[in-house]
Symmetry: C2
Subunit: 122 residues, 2 copies
């Protein structure tokens, strides 16, 4: 379970690549919760959730603190920030790809006139 991934960005993306873990993060984004509370909505055993939380914790996406018998989980967003930074590198890119799509759609609607950039708003 505990791989020696070493690469923080890979660890983050890998942790996010599971829908259960993403749901847990979304739940935590509206407030801290115990392990049991987090497990409740899922049709899955408690140990399974516990493992997911371990993955999230090792990825630095949550922190756990003990409170009597309970463990309180809190979201921790620094790795999400790094992941977003990496993805942001492509923002310019996809904006231009969407522009190209816009140009293409425009060329269908009013073709072959010349160097025209009429943005047909859908």
């Amino acid at each position: 379970m505990l791989s020696a991934m070493a690469d923080p960005l890979s660890t983050t993306f890998s942790a996010l690549a599971d829908p259960t873990r993403r749901e847990i993060l979304q739940r935590l984004s509206s407030g801290d919760a115990t392990v049991g509370e987090l497990a409740e909505p899922f049709a899955m055993s408690l140990p399974a959730i516990s493992k997911h939380l371990t993955v999230l914790e090792r990825a630095g996406l949550i922190t756990k603190s003990r409170d009597g018998q309970r463990r309180h989980c809190r979201i921790s967003v620094a790795p999400l920030q790094d992941a977003t930074s990496w993805l942001e590198l492509y923002r310019k890119h996809w904006e231009s790809q969407l522009d190209s799509l816009g140009d293409y759609l425009a060329s269908i609607h009013r073709p072959s006139t010349e160097g025209d950039h009429e943005e047909t708003p859908s």
Copy 2:
């Protein structure tokens, strides 16, 4: 290799969770390339790269087109956009967490004036 993941966001994050694949995407962000060209910088067999490209293609992150013997690969950013959208949900969150950090750092510099907590910072 070809799992039945079905969830597009999971597929995207999973594809991004490998440093080789992220490097390939970065390479493609500066222009299309053939499989051979993409493989060249890596100390890895061609089939391994081919598999990585299959993963990227199934995630919708690249498209391949045939040109004679060569396959040209092109980046395709729509899934990156979706991944970014998901992460953006936490932007407000991490901004407030960073604010909390700022407050905490401030409290170190000017301590014990009133409701002071005994936080020993590691």
